[in-house]
């Protein structure tokens, strides 16, 4: 009788345990954008991203936000010009949302559909590949998001009458840990 009771108890609770809510927090991040111009290449780096993930019933929602003015290219004049070009005075944040199945944490390569809000525009990027490595309790995610200026209706800045390239790939390195 006790065995039957225990078995019934386990059968009822295991699914509940498996579907228990969990949360993730972004511990560290490095976001690097790359701008190409015929005369020079420029990169800007930010370590100021904040992020959280909320998992429920086997599905996880992630939200990452980074201030536009946190990107440092090594020259404050260039950074302020970048801020002006991407309408950072009016839209100071870049927000990225994605929805992943919870079992994606078992995959080496995660394909994510991203919704990116930037410069007052919202764009969907489908099937962006991220590499996933687990180190202890930390989850390392790396990848490159293929942003373009035209996607966000940003006029390409020019140097000596030559415009920069439309492609602005953003390399992402993130360390997540469960809360």
């Amino acid at each position: 009788m006790n065995k039957k009771f225990m078995l019934a108890f386990l059968l009822l609770t295991i699914p509940q345990l498996a579907a228990a809510d969990s949360q993730w927090i972004l511990e560290e991040s490095t976001l690097t954008y790359h701008v190409s111009h015929p005369l020079k290449q420029t990169e800007g780096v930010s370590h100021a991203a904040k992020g959280k993930g909320a998992c429920h019933a086997g599905q996880c929602d992630f939200l990452i936000a980074v201030p536009v003015k946190s990107f440092d290219s090594g020259d404050s004049n260039r950074d302020l010009h970048m801020l002006q070009v991407v309408r950072g005075g009016q839209f100071p944040l870049i927000a990225v949302r994605t929805h992943l199945p919870e079992d994606a944490s078992s995959l080496t390569t995660i394909l994510a559909d991203l919704e990116i809000q930037f410069a007052g525009q919202t764009m969907q990027y489908k099937q962006i590949a991220f590499q996933h490595v687990t180190k202890g309790s930390d989850t390392l995610i790396t990848g490159t998001i293929p942003l373009t200026l035209s996607d966000f209706k940003i006029d390409p800045p020019t140097l000596l009458a030559l415009p920069v390239k439309n492609d602005i790939p953003v390399r992402v390195e993130m360390k997540w840990r469960p809360m």
Binding site: D79, G89, L93, Q124
Partner: protein, 278 residues
């Protein structure tokens, strides 16, 4: 008896007739439907989402659920204004007003936002939203610095020419034309220089953004070529006057050449400091 039966039969026929013709009318009133797909902000379909459709005039509520493909369909709706409310676990509820026309199948897709918000990340609404005034300030700054850059590059042309013509204007040379050419080019360079400097000085500052990188070198060099562009023409005027009187340039005026060369060199370095990465 027969008359009574006959009358009853007629009444019954009328009733049946009225009933039959009323069926298509009722069908016409309520054969509208509302359907669509529920997706998340990331584009994934949302199965088992609760869809509630409420007639705003009558208050009548109809509920359904999305299928595995995120599709929902609510049939037999009367035409009118409805409130469509969609909720699902892990998402914030989304509500929309929909107008359903008679005899139509309306499609309304709904996107559900994740439960996470910027406030969950510790980002306040003030931090999340800038202002048009801030953007206007950035725009003005960029525009003025662009003018500063262009005028500064243009000024380099007469400045180089001024230095080149200095050899014919000073020293043992007695040529009046060379001196006037040197003076004119120097004046043009000076005018363009101060116009360029105006836009740099008056460009709006952005609070909370200290100078970093090679721009600091560019700004520091201005402390050399700025005073130099004031002192050089003053000394040059004295030297010009002495030469015009047939005298040899002497006294403080003899420093005109050296001050001019240092000024021009600092100006050139200033342009290089923002053109190349070191």
């Amino acid at each position: 008896m027969n008359q009574r039966a006959e009358k009853s039969g007629v009444a019954l026929s009328v009733l049946i007739f009225l009933f039959v013709i009323s069926i298509p009318l009722r069908a016409q009133d309520s054969n509208s439907s509302l359907s669509g797909v529920i997706t998340s902000a990331a584009g994934a379909v949302v199965p088992n989402a609760k869809v509630a459709v409420k007639n705003l005039a009558s208050g009548q509520l109809t509920e359904t659920q999305t299928d595995s493909g995120g599709h929902y369909r609510v049939s037999n709706l009367m035409p009118g204004e409805y409130e469509l409310s969609v909720s699902a676990e892990g998402y914030s509820t989304n509500t929309a007003k929909v107008t359903v026309a008679a005899g139509t199948g309306q499609t309304t897709d709904v996107t559900l936002a994740g439960v996470l918000s910027l406030q969950d990340l510790g980002i306040s609404p003030d931090q999340a939203q800038g202002t048009a005034a801030d953007q206007a300030r950035l725009n003005k700054r960029s525009h003025m610095l662009m003018l500063h850059q262009r005028l500064g590059l243009i000024a380099a042309v007469p400045l180089i020419a001024t230095v080149a013509t200095s050899f014919g204007a000073g020293g043992r040379s007695t040529s009046t034309a060379d001196r006037w050419t040197h003076l004119a080019l120097g004046s043009a360079a000076g005018d363009l220089y101060f116009m360029s400097a105006y836009f740099a000085i008056r460009a709006p500052r952005i609070p909370g953004t200290p100078s970093r990188g090679q721009i600091r070198v560019h700004k520091a060099l201005a402390w050399i070529h700025g005073p130099g562009m004031i002192l050089t023409p003053i000394l040059g005027a004295i030297a010009f006057d002495q030469k015009s009187k047939g005298e040899k340039v002497h006294g403080i005026a003899s420093a005109h050449g050296a001050v001019a060369i240092v000024t021009a060199a600092a100006y050139g370095a200033s342009i290089v400091s923002v053109s190349f990465k070191f």
